[in-house]
């Protein structure tokens, strides 16, 4: 619904948009309006329809019905070329840059500037420099994109959008892989874009960012647009409730715990270039958070414990017994499991059916004389699917068809079946919608209450503070500090340790 306080006409209006795929109604009379010079947050759980709506806007998907009005005039948006001509640019989470080409070449890809038929490197370079100045970030136009940091690549994408004359820039989860300083710079860039009259649609699961950068927020759920409000009229709780569709009592359902004796004891863990002399212990029934800036070595520590990478030095003890872990196989046999950071690349074989992913580490249990006992496998999976509420039509669905949240639950089911005593979660709720996040928190809490030892790696400070009993902070490969009582901790305390 339009902002009543604004006398201007909206730059973009999407009205009554329907889109269905075989078996799924992805959009049901979805609507969205956007004003020039504002930041509109687009929020919703996974599967709510945000990506579909954006793809329709970008001409990447044809809509079934509905109208798109740009400056009050209807547009067809039948192809990405239409969208580009209309001034719509989308910066996807994975970026559309060619890593082996330079920043300048990427910006002008397909629209190379020529002088008498020859590529004019000088003209492109000059224009690229101008764009970077406008954005306020210093980047060498000749640098290859693969040599740039994620944050810098994002700036290249923005420059590309600007050079195409974009009036609407959509950013899909722009801050997911940025450090907090880089996020600040991104916000500065967005504010400049606003001042220049460009409208930004900001998609993110990080609600604190929404409150900081967005003017209005549109919430979608089950393919419908639920509401659009000015951000200043919203609180975190109301936002979550709109996204989930029901009132939520507690965002972090962590039960108070009295952890027992230390079970997993790690001493002097080292790996050249990543981890130096890390020692800590995880107690029975405890959720130990391991946090720090991107690149501080947290994931590396987890991989060393799990045997995924070879350690140069250090010992690992479980219940007093020294473990010789040289491969994930060893770790799993000793009751340690890892839910990796990138569930699609490291946690699942997307092409295999859900049931087969579930049983992969435990086929010994589901087989006899080398033959798989399918019935037993299906029954075991059904139990976990029920307990974890994994939404899947049948056990033969390929894992890639599941939503992010369900995929994460599938990975969890896989490890729960192995009866691990020590569970390492690496970014357990990354890219997962609010409703499923809650379910996963509940599961973590229950696991701890049942006596498991949990090491949780996370970059989301509210999650770290809300879900853990104790916090360890890493900085450049070393442990920079420990906070014994997570409940009493503050974000500033953690950040202070994180920056060294």
């Amino acid at each position: 619904m339009a902002d009543p306080s604004s006398p201007r006409a909206p730059l973009l209006v999407m009205e009554g948009v329907d889109k269905s795929f075989p078996g799924v109604q992805a959009l049901k009379k979805a609507r969205l309006d956007l004003y020039a010079g504002e930041v509109l947050a687009l929020l919703g759980e996974n599967g709510a329809g945000k990506s579909t709506l954006i793809k329709v806007l970008a001409g990447a998907l044809p809509r079934d019905t509905g109208t798109l009005l740009l400056d009050g005039r209807p547009v067809a948006m039948a192809s990405p070329l239409d969208a580009r001509r209309a001034g719509v640019a989308v910066i996807y989470q994975e970026f559309n840059l060619i890593p082996t080409l330079s920043a300048r070449e990427n910006i002008f890809l397909g629209r190379e500037r020529t002088t008498a038929g020859f590529f004019s490197r000088r003209r492109e370079s000059a224009q690229a420099r101008l764009l970077f100045d406008r954005i306020g970030v210093r980047i060498d136009p000749e640098a290859l994109c693969r040599a740039l940091t994620i944050a810098q690549q994002q700036v290249v994408e923005i420059a590309k959008a600007l050079s195409l004359g974009a009036r609407i820039i959509v950013m899909d989860e722009p801050s997911a892989t940025l450090t907090s300083q880089e996020v600040e710079r991104l916000f500065a860039v967005i504010r400049d874009l606003k001042a220049a009259g460009i409208a930004v649609i900001y998609i993110s699961h990080r609600l604190e960012e929404v409150f900081r950068i967005a003017d209005r927020a549109t919430v979608m759920r089950d393919g419908e647009t639920i509401a659009t409000r000015a951000v200043r009229d919203l609180t975190r709780e109301t936002l979550i409730e709109m996204m989930v569709g029901r009132p939520i009592e507690k965002e972090f359902p962590k039960t108070a715990a009295t952890p027992g004796e230390p079970r997993l004891v790690v001493e002097g863990l080292s790996r050249a270039g990543a981890v130096r002399g890390v020692s800590f212990a995880v107690r029975r029934g405890e959720v130990l958070a391991l946090t720090g800036l991107v690149g501080s070595g947290r994931t590396e520590v987890a991989r060393l414990i799990f045997g995924a990478d070879r350690r140069d030095a250090g010992t690992i003890r479980l219940d007093g017994r020294r473990l010789d872990i040289r491969s994930p196989r060893d770790a799993i046999r000793n009751g340690i499991c890892l839910l990796a950071e990138d569930r699609k690349a490291q946690g699942l074989v997307l092409g295999l059916p859900v049931g087969e992913n579930f049983s992969l580490p435990n086929l010994g249990r589901f087989s006899k004389a080398g033959f798989v006992r399918r019935r037993r496998e299906r029954e075991a999976f059904a139990v976990h699917a029920r307990n974890l509420r994994i939404k899947v039509p049948n056990a033969d669905t390929p894992a890639r068809n599941l939503s992010g949240g369900n995929q994460q639950k599938l990975v969890l089911a896989k490890w729960l079946e192995s009866n691990s005593e020590v569970l390492i979660f690496d970014e357990p709720t990354r890219g997962i919608d609010v409703g499923t996040k809650y379910e996963i928190y509940l599961l973590i809490s229950n696991l701890a209450a049942a006596g498991k030892s949990i090491l949780m790696i996370s970059s989301e400070l509210p999650e770290v503070l809300g879900m853990s009993d104790r916090i360890l902070v890493m900085h450049e490969g070393r442990l920079s500090g420990e906070i014994a009582d997570a409940r009493a901790a503050t974000q500033e305390q953690v950040l202070a340790l994180a920056v060294g």
């Binding site: 044809p62 809509r63 079934d64 019905t65 109208t67 209807p74 547009v75 067809a76 948006m77 039948a78 799990f306 995924a308 491969s327 994930p328 196989r329 770790a331 799993i332 046999r333 890892l338 990796a340 690349a345 490291q346 946690g347 699942l348 074989v349 997307l350 092409g351 295999l352 049931g355 087969e356 992969l360 580490p361 086929l363 010994g364 087989s367 080398g370 033959f371 798989v372 019935r375 299906r378 029954e379 999976f381 059904a382 699917a385 029920r386 509420r389 994994i390 939404k391 899947v392 039509p393 049948n394 056990a395 033969d396 669905t397 896989k414």
Partner: protein
């Protein structure tokens, strides 16, 4: 939404259709070649005899005198003997039975004419009817004037669908199909094995060489068996070596097996000293040429058994699961605690063994072992796997699909031969078929044409 009870599996029929869609292509090809090869077919052997006897019984009065004329050879012997037996039973008088060439037929006619006997019918095959001496028998031997030449009626049937031809199709493809079993597993793991063609040669040479050492044409049955096992094992070792190079030294499968392809070929030429080893007993051809069970070639039966075993392995065993998992996402599989290196080693050894078996069958078919066998076969094998629906990217594919792919190639090959397509044109056609098969497969998974058929309203 909560799930009740054990989860059901997806619709079995729709799964079958997507997985084995190539079966439809095979059926269409079969129909096409059946249609274009419809011809008048001659009956042969005992079958011909029965039909001719029936015709004579209807046509000629009972106490007729008949001279049976046939060429030399097994099939014609059956014709002559069966016909004689039936005619005698029916009350005809068999004046003589000739099995040989036109001269012998002339001699027989001469004898009958000299003996003053009457002759009513000369019963022969189509080929015999073409002999001059029979066609002009009435005029050449006045005593036999009025004699009629009778042959069995023809029937209309596609040459493609004749039993001999179908058996031929199956037999031609056996070597490629067997080798393709191992290749399917390798490709599912995301790799490739270019050495199989050379391994076929190496295996044939090793088997022949061992047989020659064990007595050549006088080698015992046991020696033959051990020679085959030795050849297959040698190829398995080469496969293991490829696998080690790939897993331990991390050399890409394409390069590693390309190198082994040259090594194996060189070894084959060295062992055979560049020549064909032919000192092999006839009994060795039992596998490659024999047909014991219901007239089906033994090699075809072997192929069917191997495919059954492979299907069980890939779809019902733990190892089969691991192969798909490694191909689908190697890192995730490793992080699930599976020994990826062992799985990869297995598939390359399997490919080597399959190629070894293919070489043994080839040697059995050709009763010799030469280092030139199997040249370019790796391409046909890969084609069978791809046409059968296995993706070269790895992670998916069906062993039975490869069998269908092999048959598709065999049917097209055979069909082109039956319709007298020139051999160079055949190559072009086969290449286009492979491209078409892959295109069909990509269209199935990506729905790109359909997108352009829907335009959004303004």
């Amino acid at each position: 939404m909560p799930v009740e009870g054990p989860l059901k599996s997806g619709g079995a029929v729709s799964r079958f259709a997507t997985h084995y869609g190539m079966l439809g292509v095979l059926a269409l090809l079969g129909l096409f070649f059946s249609w274009v090869t419809i011809q008048e077919q001659d009956r042969t052997g005992a079958d011909a005899a029965k039909y001719l006897a029936r015709r004579l019984a209807a046509d000629a009065p009972k106490p007729s005198r008949v001279l049976i004329v046939a060429k030399a050879g097994e099939e014609d012997a059956r014709f002559a003997d069966t016909l004689e037996a039936i005619l005698k039973k029916e009350g005809f008088t068999v004046a003589g039975k000739v099995q040989g060439d036109p001269r012998e037929a002339k001699k027989a006619l001469q004898e009958i004419a000299d003996a003053g006997g009457r002759l009513d019918v000369i019963a022969t095959t189509r080929e015999g009817a073409d002999w001059q001496v029979l066609a002009t028998a009435g005029r050449a031997f006045p005593a036999l004037a009025g004699v009629k030449v009778r042959i069995p009626a023809t029937y209309t049937w596609p040459t493609f669908l004749k039993i001999e031809n179908l058996k031929n199709v199956a037999n031609q493809i056996v070597v490629i199909a067997v080798v393709a079993i191992g290749m399917t597993m390798v490709i599912i793991t995301g790799g490739i094995d270019l050495s199989v063609g050379s391994l076929i040669a190496l295996s044939a040479v090793v088997a022949a060489w061992l047989i020659r050492r064990a007595g050549g044409e006088g080698a015992s049955g046991a020696a033959l068996v051990f020679a085959c096992l030795g050849a297959i094992a040698a190829c398995g070792l080469v496969g293991a070596f490829s696998g080690l190079v790939i897993t331990v030294f991390r050399i890409p499968p394409f390069i590693a097996t390309l190198g082994m392809m040259q090594v194996a070929s060189g070894l084959a030429f060295l062992l055979a000293q560049g020549q064909s080893i032919y000192q092999i007993p006839d009994s060795f051809t039992w596998l490659g040429r024999g047909a014991d069970l219901l007239g089906l070639p033994n090699a075809v039966i072997l192929m069917v058994l191997l495919y059954a075993a492979a299907w069980v392995l890939m779809s019902r065993t733990v190892l089969g699961r691991y192969i798909y998992a490694v191909g689908g996402n190697r890192e995730a599989t490793r992080l699930s605690g599976i020994r990826v290196r062992t799985v990869l080693l297995f598939v390359y050894v399997a490919s080597g063994l399959a190629a070894g078996l293919g070489g043994v069958v080839t040697a059995s078919q050709l009763k010799s072992g030469a280092p030139t066998y199997g040249q370019m076969y790796e391409l046909y094998v890969i084609a069978a796997v791809v046409v059968g629906g296995t993706s070269l990217a790895g992670g998916e594919g069906k062993v039975l699909g490869t069998l269908i792919g092999a048959f598709i190639i065999a049917v097209i090959w055979n069909g082109m031969n039956l319709t007298h397509v020139e051999s160079y044109t055949q190559k072009v056609v086969l290449g286009l078929v492979i491209l078409a098969a892959v295109l069909l497969d990509t269209l199935k998974t990506r729905s790109w044409p359909w997108r352009f058929l829907t335009r959004p309203p303004v």
